[in-house]
Amino acid sequence: MALVLLPRQLENEAGGRRRFDVEAETLRGALEALPVADLLFDERGTLRPLVHVFVDGADARDELESPLAPAATVRIVAAIAGG
């Protein structure tokens, strides 16, 4: 199972958790399995513009449909933005 790590901003929205073990064939599948999927994607399934995703340290924002290795670590990062 892949490990998905959430940013601190999503901890409350995910029921107080930041780590999720997820079984999914693709990166998109892993993200959609999270209890915060509605916050990561808009209603068209498009990843929100200020949400970044890294798989084993590599930027994977544009590789949502790629196969996800069972031992992968997926880190969701909110962009450096705001005020």
């Binding site: 409350n12 929205e13 808009d42 209603e43 929100r48 962009a79 933005a81």
Partner: protein, 339 residues
Amino acid sequence: MGDLLIGTRKGLFLLRDGDVRGPLLTGWAVFHAVNVGETIYAATNSFFFGATVQRSDDGGETWERAESLGLPEETGLTLAQVWHIEPAGDGQLLLGAEPGVLFSSEDGGATWQVNEALLSHPTRERWQPGAGGLCCHSIQLAPNGTLYIAISAAGAFRSEDGGESFVPINKDVAADFLEETYPEVGQCVHKLLLHPARPERLWQQNHCGVYRSDDRGDNWERLDKNGLPSGFGFGLALDPASPDAAWVIPEEGAENRVVAGGRMGAWHTTDGGASWSLEADGLPEPAWTGVLREGASFDADGAYFGTQSGSVFARRHDGDRWNEVARQLPPILSVEAWR
């Protein structure tokens, strides 16, 4: 004075029995919050994670997010921001949002259905977003079920069939920024309120003036020429016991959105807008802040407003000065009296 729900750019604060509690919903910009009994509903937006509605049944200790909120694919539109939640009775909630859409919920805010009549309104192509986006920010319900909404910049609309259809009600309301000054739609309403004791009377703070209608929006009278320093502003509050009374907080203008005259000034009318007087005792001077469109509220006790500099001021309807009841909060987006 009454209790308040104070939405800020950095979460929600509750003012209850004189004590400020918060922030709740940290990480969210709370555009508006309202209570139904002890249940709190908040319209929340995030730079990163989009727009949603949150509900708390335990005074803000824990929150539950809406399960589904979005626009149908065939519209080509996506939800941008949520602006205002209005309880509609019988367990129904209404939600105003960008891009110029209205949702309803029959299950306490868990799921939301978009209003098709507004979504496919025949005038929609003539609507233009204001600085806050194409936001549906005002939702008012008359006791007979008539529904009023306002969108910036589409104008005000009335529905007499439970939201099955909407009629523009913008006659004689100016849109100085358009080629046609008095169009059917396209007005930039900043806030629309219905008087609770005289529901055929509507008040409107507009981008281009302050207006009152005594016939459910069929005709509007412009009132800001009657002594206000400016027709531009956002905050609007009423007095439930006096249909002729209203509060506005004028700003310098569209190009300089700070309080008029370099002072925090609330202007009061007690004659239906025929005249206005500055009621500023207790308010700071000089001041260069502002009050946003959801930043003013009222109840049977008094009027309230919150500033972008994080202060909340309250004044009894029968009082003679404003009191600062909260300070040093994040920039305030909304103030709502606890119902």
